[in-house]
């Protein structure tokens, strides 16, 4: 029936429905981002609670009502529109809130943690390599501009070096991580994180327990610290960081999505789901786990470098185990393997406790309960990863 109708439709109408669908998707995304922007900005307890309630309601109804399910399917069918609408929304939010220090700081923080979560996604959700030292690699990234920031090396290059440094130091535990399995590999990464922290604490060159100052990021000679106005507008010192953070996340998103929808993604998934089948069909388990571990740590390192430059300092405590767990909770809560889920979860975990004074003291307890509840009632996370469907890509390749 439906196919008959579709084939009977004239191209012009198909184009029009497609256009309408895109518009609808863009509207949904814009609305969600607008709500998110409000949440980031709002200080009034009543407003925050009302917004949260609205989000929970949208979330629940999106899956319970057929209209909601159709909206989700529509968004999944037009990923390009989603990405574009998201980018435009972020720019719009940044433009409106250009002077709000605290809101922009939080926006940048969410973007950079989501970038780190993208790295962890490659490692854990795709290739199945545990990494319980996310904050460690993040901190390694931040120490690099602390050391190199004043040397005259262009800061874009410093970011690259930070990524390489995180990847290289990750090499130190690559062998034990590859040789051990499951819990043991996880323990190796935990041990690495603890060792790193102790090393940073006793190492005087890196500032010991006090840590180091990190210079502000500067792009083509223009220091972010000196940006106080753009054209006729006064802007916050955090605006460029919020934009740079979002750009970095966009880049990480691009890399992760392209890898996922490629033969590399197939290899990652095969290695994670069934090492025996993967090896029998010729995949090298070590090669793919190492690839994911290195690229993932590089992403975390770059995000950490920018985070350090935004904060202006880094110390051994940046590499603490609790923060690594927070990064993991972002993955678990958002949905293993879904980067939009990681964004939502970053907001939930990093922003909401700041907003709700009532829960601030209990934030760790609440995270723990939240993660337990998710694992119990919705193990694939708030926004589960969609089954990869390569059919559209394959069709394009025939032409």
């Amino acid at each position: 029936m439906e196919t008959a109708q579709l084939t009977g439709t004239r191209p012009a109408e198909v184009v029009r429905t497609q256009g309408l669908h895109r518009l609808l998707v863009a509207a949904i995304v814009a609305l969600l981002f607008a709500g998110g922007g409000f949440l980031l900005h709002s200080e009034a307890q009543g407003e925050v609670i009302a917004l949260l309630a609205a989000f929970v309601a949208i979330f629940v109804f999106a899956e319970r009502l057929s209209a909601g399910r159709r909206a989700i399917a529509l968004c999944r069918a037009h990923p390009g529109t989603v990405n574009l609408a998201a980018a435009v929304s972020v720019l719009a939010i940044a433009a409106v809130l250009r002077e709000e220090h605290y809101t922009l700081l939080m926006m940048a923080t969410v973007a950079l943690f989501a970038t780190a979560a993208a790295g962890l996604t490659l490692q854990m959700a795709f290739a199945g390599v545990p990494n319980f030292a996310g904050a460690g690699f993040f901190a390694i990234g931040a120490y690099v501009p602390a050391v190199l920031g004043g040397t005259g090396i262009p800061h874009l290059v410093v970011l690259l070096i930070a990524g390489c440094a995180a990847a290289l130091l990750g090499l130190a535990i690559l062998l034990p991580v590859l040789r051990t399995r499951g819990h043991y590999a996880a323990l190796v990464t935990i041990a690495f994180g603890l060792l790193l922290r102790s090393f940073l604490e006793v190492n005087d060159v890196l500032g010991g327990p006090q840590g180091m100052k990190v210079p502000a990021f500067s792009l083509f000679g223009l220091s972010f610290a000196r940006i106080t106005e753009i054209g006729p507008y006064d802007v916050s010192f955090y605006l460029p960081y919020a934009l740079a953070g979002c750009a970095l996340f966009a880049l990480a998103f691009f890399v992760v999505r392209r890898l996922e929808t490629s033969f590399v993604g197939l290899a990652f998934d095969a290695v994670r789901s069934d090492e025996v089948a993967a090896s029998v069909f010729g995949l090298s388990i070590a090669r793919w786990k190492a690839t994911a571990f290195l690229i993932g740590n590089a992403m975390i390192g770059v995000a950490g470098a920018l985070y350090g430059m935004m904060n202006g300092f880094v110390n051994p405590n940046s590499a603490n185990f609790g923060d690594s767990l927070i990064m993991l909770s972002i993955l678990v809560l958002g949905g293993f393997g879904n980067l939009w889920g990681a964004v939502v979860a970053s907001v939930v975990i990093l922003v909401i406790p700041e907003k709700l004074q009532a829960i601030q003291e209990y934030r760790l307890v609440i995270f723990a309960l939240l993660v337990i509840a998710i694992l119990r009632f919705r193990p694939s996370g708030l926004m589960p990863r969609a089954t990869r469907d390569l059919s559209a890509l394959a069709m394009g390749g025939q032409r």
Binding site: R258, L259, F263, D274, S279, V280, F281, G396, G397
Partner: protein, 258 residues
């Protein structure tokens, strides 16, 4: 002419247990060998050793001109050996295509650059692979070909077996090892699967197959030669007609203890 696969004195010990006991087994190009034996006689172990999952304790394994003794599963796969598993090993939450494509990943460019930057190249390879998977699955069940992008878990047991066989075939192996492909199927389903396999064989005359199977009917219909294992030892080798009459085989199957 030398055979495609030649194992001699192949032995696999697990601690004190000898699961394979100086096996001499040869398989020629295009030949189908039926491998039978009671449960625990070492059939699956033989496959695991052949595909490099277990490192054999002693013996020699030659495949064409190369020595495969103690090689890694990856090297053995590259040489042209593919298999199915007694207990289905599909990734159920991934599409049929993704599962089948695993069998061909050794033959495509797995570099990061085609994945990230030069996508047109990847898309061409992908289209070719989708076409191949469609043609292959259509032969076994047109329904699978029509639902290539549905999760493998949404298919029946028998279709999953078919998908597993397609995954093993798509890389164009020289030797195919089938470990009880009909386990858990009805007679009718088994007959179907074997018909499909025989039809496929016609088109790939060079493909050698070793088939582990309990149903004697199937073995009779499909195999050129039979090998019987018992306690890891080869107790019979020859034509099917001679198999049932063989006294050693009868004792093994009728519960004769050693």
């Amino acid at each position: 002419m030398s055979p495609l696969l030649a194992c001699s004195g192949l032995t696999m010990r697990f601690g004190g247990l000898t699961a394979l006991d100086s096996l001499d087994i040869a398989v020629g190009t295009g030949e189908t060998v039926g491998l039978v034996g009671p449960n625990g006689s070492g059939k699956t172990t033989f496959f695991n050793v052949l595909t490099g999952l277990y490192r054999p304790s002693e013996g020699a394994v030659r495949f064409e001109a190369s020595d495969l003794f103690g090689r890694s599963p990856q090297e053995i796969s590259r040489a042209g050996v593919a298999r199915t598993f007694q207990r289905s090993r599909l990734m159920l939450d991934q599409t049929v295509f993704d599962n089948i494509a695993l069998g061909a990943l050794g033959r495509v460019d797995l570099g990061l650059l085609p994945a990230l930057v030069f996508r047109s190249r990847f898309r061409r390879d992908l289209s070719a692979l989708v076409e191949k998977a469609t043609a292959l699955t259509r032969r076994f069940n047109p329904h699978i070909a029509a639902s290539l992008f549905k999760p493998a878990g949404s298919f029946t047991m028998i279709d999953r077996r078919r998908i597993e066989i397609c995954r093993a075939l798509i890389g164009g192996p020289r030797l195919l090892l089938l470990d009880e492909p009909s386990a858990g199927m009805t007679h009718e389903e088994t007959r179907h699967l074997m018909d499909d396999l025989l039809a496929f064989r016609e088109e790939m005359p060079d493909l050698a197959i070793v088939l582990v199977e309990h149903e004697m009917d199937v073995i009779r219909r499909i195999s050129d030669r039979c090998v019987v294992l018992n306690f890891g030892r080869k107790i019979f080798e020859g034509a099917f007609d001679a198999l049932l009459a063989d006294p050693d085989v009868q004792t093994a199957y009728l519960g004769g203890s050693q």
